[in-house]
Symmetry: C2
Subunit: 469 residues, 2 copies
């Protein structure tokens, strides 16, 4: 386990050296997506777009600005956000009649339109999503991808005829999260957030938390059941088969660039990033090993190899820079390229290639004729093993605690028995300094006569706790 300072230094250093993002932009917490980081992020977005197509969500793009009066319609929601929003008050030389805010999330931008779009049961379910930038005026210290003021954001919003259909949607969202987590090799903990920590306006919130190398939890996504909370405020009604007018039930699924922060933190090592193959901008880097008098021939073979790899569905890159191979290894290790191939005169002669895995550092010689098949297998192995390694990290770092003191001294996630009472729960948090992530979504069996960790009354449920980002 790393302490926070070690982690912070390593994390910031790697992001800078891999050139994922530039935080020298003259507004704190609003960073520039540099080409390599943006490629990784858009690869993640691509997986989400595929998932949305599979689950029949339509992509839309809503305006960034929201009029203050629309924003204020759902009382809980505005209470949750009004300390955090940026206000546009002037345009040109004019003061605006109605102030406009930069979306912190898009409920209040979308729902006035949903009220126009949904007329009858035939319009339901309505399932849409967008990938946009959102804005939150963070007062805590900022950190690339983890706590920023302009946030690259995925948000799906749905309307349903009834609670049951909305619940089905939430199951589908969890499935989508699951499939994405496999692509990112990022196992996660899914918890139903306690009442005092659910999303502003939600009936309940599921949180998706990642175990970071510091032992802390990083929330990367959340899924909300709104029931009719927003539809009543925004007048989103439909006519059912019998001509009755009913409020729709709604859900949302939000996820931010924090997924990239999690990928960096969970997989990276001393040498730099380790990119899961499915999102690596470059999956295989080829380094030609030159030899006097034979360079033309060697480069030709290297270029042929690159073509062959690209034609076989790999994202391959040939590094022809005029620097030592060692410097090249170093650069691509920082950037986390999953596989490196070295191809020199002896390899060409022997009809082999040298393949080096970024995650394990293992170096093997592979027959040229079998190279493509073996690379496919290695690429799959890398994904599987990155996932397994992270899964073991998560599972081995959930400590069952019976007392507040045990929680306090834990350096990992914590599992407790809890009476389920909100006041008691909040006191557990205060006294331990931990945050309650929530209760398991697939309810876990309690021991007979399990007692609440604080009040000692009969426990109603297990609960997860952690220090959090």
């Amino acid at each position: 386990m790393m302490n926070e300072e070690e982690f912070s230094n390593w994390y910031n250093d790697i992001i800078e050296r891999a050139n994922l993002s530039d935080k020298r932009y003259p507004i704190k917490g609003m960073n520039v997506w540099t080409p390599y980081g943006w490629k990784v992020m858009t690869n993640i977005d691509r997986h989400m777009r595929n998932e949305m197509e599979r689950t029949k969500h339509d992509e839309v793009c809503f305006p960034l600005l929201i009029p203050e009066d629309q924003f204020a319609k759902e009382a809980e929601h505005i209470k949750g956000f009004d300390e955090q929003v940026y206000w546009v008050t002037h345009a040109g030389k004019n003061q605006l009649d109605v102030r406009l805010l930069l979306r912190p999330t898009s409920e209040t931008a979308m729902y006035p339109m949903f009220s126009l779009w949904v007329r009858s049961h035939a319009d339901l379910p309505l399932k849409i999503f967008q990938i946009v930038n959102t804005f939150r005026y963070e007062t805590k210290q900022t950190r690339s991808f983890v706590r920023v003021r302009e946030i690259h954001f995925f948000e799906a919003h749905t309307c349903h005829a009834d609670f049951e259909d909305a619940e089905r949607q939430i199951k589908e969202d969890v499935e989508v999260m699951d499939r994405l987590s496999k692509k990112l090799c990022l196992p996660y903990l899914l918890s139903k957030r306690p009442n005092w920590d659910k999303f502003a306006g939600a009936v309940y919130t599921l949180g998706v938390d990642i175990f970071m190398p510091t032992g802390k939890a990083l929330q990367i996504a959340s899924i909300h059941q709104y029931k009719e909370n927003f539809s009543k405020a925004y007048n989103i009604k439909y006519e059912d088969e019998n001509g009755n007018h009913k409020d729709v039930h709604q859900t949302t699924y939000g996820m931010s660039e924090r997924v990239l922060g999690a990928v960096i933190g969970v997989h990276g090592d001393k040498k730099g990033l380790i990119m899961p193959p499915s999102i690596a901008p470059i999956q295989i880097v080829i380094i030609p090993v030159l030899a006097k008098g034979k360079n033309e021939e060697i480069l030709k073979k290297n270029r042929e190899l690159k073509e062959e790899l690209n034609n076989n569905g790999f994202r391959a890159f040939l590094d022809e820079r005029d620097i030592r191979p060692g410097s090249k290894y170093f650069d691509w290790e920082i950037k986390g390229v999953p596989i490196r191939i070295e191809l020199g005169p002896r390899d060409i002669e022997n009809k082999v290639a040298i393949v080096v895995r970024r995650d394990t550092g293992k170096k093997i010689e592979i027959k040229r004729e079998k190279l493509i098949d073996v690379l496919k297998k290695i690429m799959d192995d890398i994904s599987t093993e990155l996932y397994k390694k992270a899964e073991a990290q998560l599972k081995n770092n959930i400590l069952s605690c019976k007392t507040i003191d045990e929680i306090k001294s834990a350096e990992s996630f914590v599992k407790i028995d809890w009476c389920g009472n909100d006041d008691c729960g909040q006191r557990i948090c205060e006294e331990s300094g931990f945050t309650m992530l929530g209760t398991p979504v697939n309810s876990e069996k309690l021991d007979k006569q399990a007692k609440c960790v604080l009040c000692n009354k009969e426990a109603a449920t297990k609960a997860y706790m952690a220090r959090t980002y």
Copy 2:
């Protein structure tokens, strides 16, 4: 030619019925991209991304907000925009120390970072682009895609060692524009804007104008040569091979969602949109013609056809809705799907399919075994003919005028002889009510003894003029 009112009614009606965009959002000029319109726009973006990859531009994403002091560094630039920007003055309950503006374009966001990124000649050329939303406080009447306050925007920015290399870049930009125009079947007029109409901060500006059915010009893109104007203001210097520090030369290439407005206006007809195949979300719609007792078999054949088309690289859609085929024809004509296929029991028996072109309305019977090959050919023909038709429209609507009165009464674009003097040019505009688009980029031959249309002095150049959006 349509008059402005006819065109406006038709244009707004088509956008609403094809559901490209919803302008009922509670801020005027900030519209919602609905799924169909967003698909078309992202298809256009995809072509631009491919062009940028081909020409080795890296994609980035810069913050939306720009601090006032950064914005104010280039005097001409701020003068051009300060009436048009939205100002963020508050965050949460706090007033900000430095006001932030929503980017109207990204020079002043990017160039402070370029100053950090560019160190030596080895960093040049720097070629980047982004596709983002920009903001302009329009006071004129808004119109979907043509005049909006939140703009879907493509912008490429480059830095070069010298003027010559920057000029090479501008040639490349024109080539990119040319290739895109083929994809969109949108011939354009390229003019060097007159001095009084160049971009704020540019040394010169090339404007890309489309001939609209009203006879007016719609500017969809522009390319700017900045020389060292911005690099001096933002301190973007490099060290050359001899250790001298020099200011970089810069160019930009900007293009907005207006391209979609042009596609709608140029290709559409009374029945609705006509989508160029390369950007049509659905290229082929299949309408099953059912017959009692045979529906299962007919649907099966229709589904097989859809699969086959998709496997052959077409974007095909099977419309299985339980409504009359005639209603389906109507719906897909509005949306401009290039090709419709009708497949019923008799066609299945005779091993044929009925293929209908959206652009010409021509209906032909094609042997099932030759269908794929013929469809590929038809799809190419549609693109070619849409382009040719629009090209003829443009070429036949440039009227050579010898007097101000002739210009005044023109209902098309106009070509004049001009002395090249700015004062005289601006008077030509005032007196004729036309805008000068500029001078031809590939200089056109003047007649011997050609005289300026206003001052009657010796003409120095041809110039294009038009009424504009």
